[in-house]
Symmetry: C2
Subunit: 208 residues, 2 copies
């Protein structure tokens, strides 16, 4: 009984348990479609195949679940954008960098749809405490875009007759909202990105 075979050290890595992940996944989906307050922990538990009380073994509170859902939403996007920009050759143009950022943003956004949509939809409505925690990470992300725009402006690639801040707010807002209407059954993702990128760079109307 003492020297039993312990084949795998099972590495004390407290890898996220499967149940815990399922709770987050279902919470994101329900937050997205019904809102944070309207979603009950009984619903989340039900969707995850457990009972409500069991949630508290994995999380301290409903608000903690909210926090992790919000994190997953934005971190997935940021990561995708950073990767694509870093993968570019050093002498890439501002336009190429900007295109990489758009593609990364859309990929991260649509790839984690429930998390990103939940983030976008409910961010304006969450408790102030949860909002404060996320303000910093959001600001870092906008600064990343501002650096891209600043670069493009100095190289003469960005239009100079529109405020940089308006461009950033308009573009990120427009990209974010695509998660509300994007339909993967109406064409490939690559094609979708191409069209959105074209609109952002060159607009929707024929040059006068």
């Amino acid at each position: 009984m003492s020297t039993k075979t312990r084949e795998k050290p099972t590495a004390a890595v407290e890898a996220d348990s499967e149940t815990r992940e399922r709770i987050l996944l279902e919470a994101a989906r329900l937050f997205r479609h019904h809102g944070y307050v309207a979603t009950t922990l009984r619903e989340v538990a039900d969707a995850a195949g457990i009972k409500a009380g069991s949630i508290y073994y994995h999380f301290e509170s409903k608000e903690q679940i909210l926090g992790e859902v919000l994190d997953k939403g934005i971190l997935g996007v940021i990561d995708a954008v950073r990767r694509r920009i870093e993968a570019l050759p050093p002498k890439a143009t501002a336009r190429e960098k900007f295109a990489a950022a758009i593609e990364g943003h859309l990929w991260g956004l649509l790839h984690h749809g429930d998390f990103t949509s939940a983030n976008i939809r409910i961010y304006g409505q969450i408790p102030a405490a949860a909002k404060n925690r996320h303000r910093k990470i959001r600001r870092e992300y906008t600064e990343l875009w501002d650096r891209l725009l600043e670069d493009a402006l100095q190289r003469g690639e960005l239009r100079a007759d529109i405020g940089m801040t308006i461009v950033r707010l308009f573009v990120i807002g427009a990209l974010n909202w695509t998660v509300e209407w994007y339909n993967p059954q109406k064409g490939s993702f690559e094609d979708f990105v191409k069209q959105i990128t074209t609109i952002v760079f060159d607009g929707t109307f024929v040059k006068e």
Copy 2:
């Protein structure tokens, strides 16, 4: 006691009472910032300067208040767009019509900020019954934009290499989201409209 002076006929016009309007206004503001479910009728009553029970003299239920808030949000926008398009001379170009629609949309949107933002933020999260009532009016509005785009395409003013539906979804989504970040203290409304319109028509980057 019978023939008492009744000076003003007070016109049986059941004009929206002041209290009723105040309830809608505060409800819109609270729905916008906290969501529909998170907002309690006690909060609404408090903000409107009455007690919770009194709300039921003016409305049958919380959901009825929601319906009227959603209506005000979208009807104000539709009305502003229609007016501006109808005010154009008959031989206006598609570009001029589209610009008028953008200006009207932004004006209606930002002029009724609490109602339109509440509409946009919570539409994805309201009870199915409330959603169904509004689907029709939303569809009529998108058809209005589709006619503008169809016209522009046939006249060769709209780019032909981007799907019309994508353009409509992207543009309306982008415009709607401006209510989340527009700051009237950072320039005039006219200037704002001009910049947004330029981006939509001609994009953000210098022509290659």
